[in-house]
Amino acid sequence: MKLNLKIWRQSGPNDKGYFDMHSVEANEHMSFLEMLDVLNEQLISEKKDPIAFAHDCREGICGTCNLVIDGRPHGPQKGTTTCQLHMRQYKDDDTIVIEPFRATAFPIIKDLVVDRSSLDGVIQAGGYISVNTGQAVDANAIPVEQEVAADAFDSATCIGCGACIAACPNGSAMLFTSAKVSHLGKLPQGKVEHKKRVQNMVAQMDKEGFGLCSNVGACEAECPKEISLDNIAFMNRAFIGSVLTTED
């Protein structure tokens, strides 16, 4: 199939950027990123500048790939990362618009590659359990109810891709942050630091330039790991709780 690609090009963070048109011959078995590989080989053979895009595992687990495809972070397929999208979703002569994840906290490095270190900043502010190597008790000393563990696991599956932020009109990182808060806060091991963790991580979100949450819900809809809005509710309860308790 022949595809028409309208792709965002931007040489650096301070460049204005523009859309460029390309066409590429693809087949239905290719992954979306393999289709871009083919385009890049074509550009290189013409000694033109290939399109920069981010990727690594190509299995939907590392969280590196980050394209907005026809207006949707990670494209049209529910619960699927960009790298897992395959060309059988498309047909001959389709036009596809490809852009980077856009958010104030994600400056563009080049073309479709953005800087997401702001997410690391949020984790560094408290997204951990404070236990040094060698301090742990026997793993079976603290039984954890199966449902509790499963619930925490659902939150822990976040791959840190930032689609939730790109989807949000406010560029808020509530879904990402609350997923970490819920993962740790629901487990007995992580409860001790829960309130402090929430305060610190929320404060850091602000500092990193993420916006406020106004309950739009676009984050959940676009999250490739289907992280639920319930995580935000869980975090809000702790946040309100922590503000009240520290004020008195």
């Binding site: 290719m30 290189i44 595992c57 395959h86 270190s117 690391d120 190597t133 793993a139 039984p143 822990a156």
Partner: protein
């Protein structure tokens, strides 16, 4: 050069404990003055950097990824072993040690492997305390499964995402140290050279991948935790950016590459579908518990399937060759990875393969669906007519493997509940790596290698769920202590300056090397060279190797390398964000490593573990080890493009008897 393994004296089971308590310590005030560079933030690097930060060292940690959390470890699926014996099924440290030595086909060091088995239990405690959500039983205790053909249940797992959860745990521990200031984290910094001063490893040269700027970093010691080199084959299950350059640059500066021909080929991956293919996807080994592997008996049927004139369903039972069940009646579809992989190759080489490329075999769940369906119908007192049995059976299979089936369908576009999956072996893991002693120190003083980057624990074949164990053992529980042996001798050494002639020269070397790649300004893309290299290595140094092929491969790699330096095209400049330049430097190093790999395979005229030499087989055509001549580690020295030189470390077995693996 004499390779001293520095294995401590004493009884096997007591070596580590005694050694640990007699190792020289570094006082806290001195730790603060000592700097350590850790390259890599996978399981090995992140755990090592975090732990050394906690201990009070000054750590500088590097990754070429945009965040430490993206390391390739994130993709591991199946699980992590530990000799906890929570299931009370007779597991023990000795049994895990024994299984690992035997699984490695008696080509690893006893003392290292025993230590690995000892610390395995601490890993599970540590990770659980960090919040890693391992699978649990109804009672809330940790669950285990049996994995990779061993007789006990010692594998801990976190759904099909064990690597992800373990890495997130280590990443969080690392993040905590970054926030505390004990670890300085450098993302998107690629190590492009090792700097030695007075024979000791004292620093690295990195390229900032965003700006292209070259930087010099110094420290008292350097740790490489840079992963495996499976991508030398181009197509592998490794992440796209995994590469050998950090390790290879260390080899260029005098470290040794040990056993590079020991590579693990995983039997159950989704076959290649076309030449645009960029990587291969693993389907978990657990599928072989219920799937039966077969190809059509006749070449005509195979041809018809390849051309789409027939499907698997058109081939009746009598016309199918369940070749693993036929050749290995005792283990059947559950033979170890290397055996299953080679058998698939044989079937396809004989012309009975089924994918459009001819390189694929069927993994069929229909028997399991029928069996489970019938059991379920009977136990629930439901109708046992065909439709009902099939429906019930599919539900059971879905509960067990639903996510894998879904992944298969996303990639192949075929529904594996209706038609058998097609699978083919692919490169998955590299047992070979930088040579290290018992302290995980290389032959270059002050240079250490941990995780998949070293060669240490898996011999000629790695058992399932043991790489995660080794990465975390090295990073959390071994290196942070053994590095003290070296650092305790450095407490009087001031901060290492990074503007000495050695650093300046190394930076200049890197700059010239990179600029040289751009200046070639040829006509072929980096990717096309990588593909060609992969093909040569796969064909001659893949599942089955022989002298003629290996010699041919070496000549071809050398010719390709010449062509590369004449005709590669790398766009852009060195002082900007330039992924093609990154790839070019990596492919250049893969060429040299690839050549060394073939030399190693040529030198080792025996079949052991993942290394199968056609000249060394039993009367029945099975792999035959040659313990008299090859019970050694082959550690290779790069020789400036001439034939590399081998150094040997003899392996001694005092606690296990060397036996032939048999799966008949």
């Amino acid at each position: 050069m004499k390779l001293d393994s520095k294995v401590p004296e004493g009884a096997l089971a007591e070596k580590w404990t005694k050694y640990k308590s007699s190792m020289p310590l570094v006082a806290p005030n001195n730790k603060r003055r000592l700097e350590v560079i850790v390259v890599g933030t996978g399981l090995a690097g992140a755990s090592a950097a975090a732990t050394m930060g906690e201990l009070g060292y000054n750590v500088k940690c590097f990754t070429f990824h945009d965040s430490p959390r993206r390391a390739h470890s994130i993709a591991a699926q199946g699980g992590i072993n530990a000799a906890k014996n929570y299931q009370n099924d007779g597991d023990s440290v000795f049994r895990l040690f024994y299984d690992t030595i035997k699984g490695g086909d008696y080509r690893s060091r006893e003392a290292n492997v025993h230590r690995l088995a000892e610390v395995s239990t601490d890993i599970i405690d540590q990770c659980t305390a960090q919040g890693v959500p391992f699978a649990r039983e109804y009672g809330g205790l940790l669950a285990n499964r049996s994995f990779g053909g061993v007789q006990v249940s010692r594998t801990f797992y976190a759904r099909g995402q064990t690597g992800q959860q373990l890495l997130i745990g280590a990443y969080q521990a690392l993040s905590r140290q970054i926030a505390k200031g004990s670890v300085d984290m450098y993302n998107r910094h690629e190590m492009l050279d090792l700097v030695k001063v007075d024979g000791k490893a004292r620093g690295i040269i990195t390229r900032n991948l965003v700006t292209g700027e070259l930087e010099r970093f110094s420290a008292h010691a350097v740790v490489l935790a840079t992963g495996g080199y499976g991508n030398v084959y181009y197509l592998s299950t490794n992440a796209m950016n995994s590469n050998v350059s950090a390790g290879w640059r260390a080899v260029r500066r005098g470290a040794l590459m040990a056993n590079p021909c020991y590579n693990q080929i995983h039997p159950t991956c989704i076959p290649v579908s076309g030449d645009y293919q960029s990587k291969l996807t693993l389907m978990s080994e657990s599928l072989r518990n219920d799937g039966r592997i077969w190809v059509p008996k006749s070449k005509e049927d195979a041809q018809a399937i390849k051309e789409g004139r027939k499907t698997a369903l058109d081939i009746v039972e009598e016309d199918r060759d369940y070749y693993l069940e036929r050749r290995y009646p005792a283990f059947g579809n559950l033979v170890p990875r290397d055996v299953a992989s080679r058998a698939a190759k044989v079937a396809c080489d004989e012309g009975n393969g089924v994918a459009p490329t001819g390189l694929g075999v069927f993994l069929d769940f229909s028997s399991a669906i029928q069996r489970y369906g019938l059991q379920e119908a009977n136990s629930r007192g439901l109708s046992t007519d065909d439709t009902n049995v099939t429906k019930l059976g599919k539900e059971i299979i879905k509960n067990k493997y639903g996510n894998l089936f879904q992944m298969y369908e996303k990639i192949s576009g075929e529904n594996p509940y209706e038609r058998p999956m097609k699978i083919y072996p692919a490169i998955h893991y590299t047992m070979g790596g930088i040579w290290v002693d018992y302290n995980l120190e290389t032959n270059v003083p002050g240079l250490f290698a941990i995780g998949e980057a070293n060669f240490s624990d898996h011999g000629a074949n790695r058992l399932g769920a043991s790489a995660l164990m080794q990465g975390l053992a090295d990073g959390y529980f071994v290196l942070p202590y053994t590095i003290g042996n070296f650092l305790s001798t450095q407490i009087r050494t001031d901060k290492i300056a990074n503007d000495t002639p050695e650093f300046i020269q190394a930076e200049k070397d890197v700059k010239e090397r990179l600029q040289g790649l751009i200046d070639i300004n040829g006509n072929q893309s980096v990717e096309s060279f990588h593909k060609k290299l992969g093909k040569i290595i796969w064909e001659n140094g893949g599942m089955s190797r022989n002298e003629t092929g290996l010699k041919k491969g070496i000549a071809e790699v050398r010719a390709l390398r010449d062509e590369f330096y004449k005709d590669v095209y790398v766009p852009g400049t060195i002082s900007e964000f330039n992924p093609e330049l990154e790839k070019a430097a990596r492919v250049a190093d893969f060429m040299e490593l690839g050549e060394t790999l073939l030399f190693d395979a040529l030198n080792r005229n025996e079949s052991c573990g993942g290394h199968f030499r056609e000249e060394s087989v039993s009367d029945e055509g099975e792999a035959k080890r040659d313990d008299n001549n090859y019970t050694y580690v082959a550690a290779w020295e790069w020789n400036d493009g001439q034939d590399p030189k081998v150094h040997k470390e003899k392996l001694k077995f005092d606690n296990v008897e060397l036996k032939t693996r048999s799966y008949k």
